[in-house]
Symmetry: C2
Subunit: 168 residues, 2 copies
Amino acid sequence: MTTEPAEGLVEADTRPATSKARLRLWLRLLKATKHVEAELRERLRVDFDTTLPRFDVMAALYRAEAGLKMSELSGVLRVSNGNVTGIVDRLVNDGLIVRVPVDNDRRATTVRLTQAGREEFARMAERHESWVNELLSDVPLAEIASVAAALDRVAKHRSERETHADGE
Amino acid sequence: MTTEPAEGLVEADTRPATSKARLRLWLRLLKATKHVEAELRERLRVDFDTTLPRFDVMAALYRAEAGLKMSELSGVLRVSNGNVTGIVDRLVNDGLIVRVPVDNDRRATTVRLTQAGREEFARMAERHESWVNELLSDVPLAEIASVAAALDRVAKHRSERETHADGE
């Protein structure tokens, strides 16, 4: 789907320019993401006395009404670098989530939002969406689709190392 | 420069669609960034036995040949969440950077790369660039400029809270 030549076919003297352009794009991607993330982190702290990992846990549980296993929550949190056990403990203490034993597995526990937790998250999510809308307001709507498509290609790019794991 | 109406003028029934589109864009931005960051982190570990914060410190020092104060390095590392003192200590132990006293300030110290540090970083930077080129290879070159411009707008967007700090 790309109009570019395959890796090995790139001419030696065009490669550096291409590669520098992609490096600059990556640095901008990183900068934009860190900027928005820092803003969201700060606003969650000031307005809701909460953290991004805590918000992410509640978001995952809001979507999974039946609850999630701790291992599933860890997958969510790998992204935001939080300590899932500590976060769950505090959310339980705050009455926002409950631990539910799993019938057929004595060691497994599911956690899910309480009614208070669902209501609190709905309030946070509404504000979070309005913050994102403001922080990204300088991206014209007309451009969103093409930028999003480019980002999807980045996120879905399978590493050549994974693809050719038997190489080298 | 945007063709969109100002915040308060958005019609009530178009607002949610706009806002949802920007929220989805943000989630994709986050996903793409985390994907690339995780790949880079893993490759730096495997190929150079190093970390992203350590790479970021060396990158900042590579650009600042005269060296940087610890406080300036902390600014760099705020982004990658590292512990600047610990990282600097290990880089000094590895002979990659040196601490240099500042003439007119007994308490201040500057750190800069050693020759070995410059050579090591040059090797890492070359690989890092080729990794980024590969990970972003599905973004056609023709699209890079417009995506980069959109990202710059996001990174440069000044928060309304900052702009109207006296509001509410």
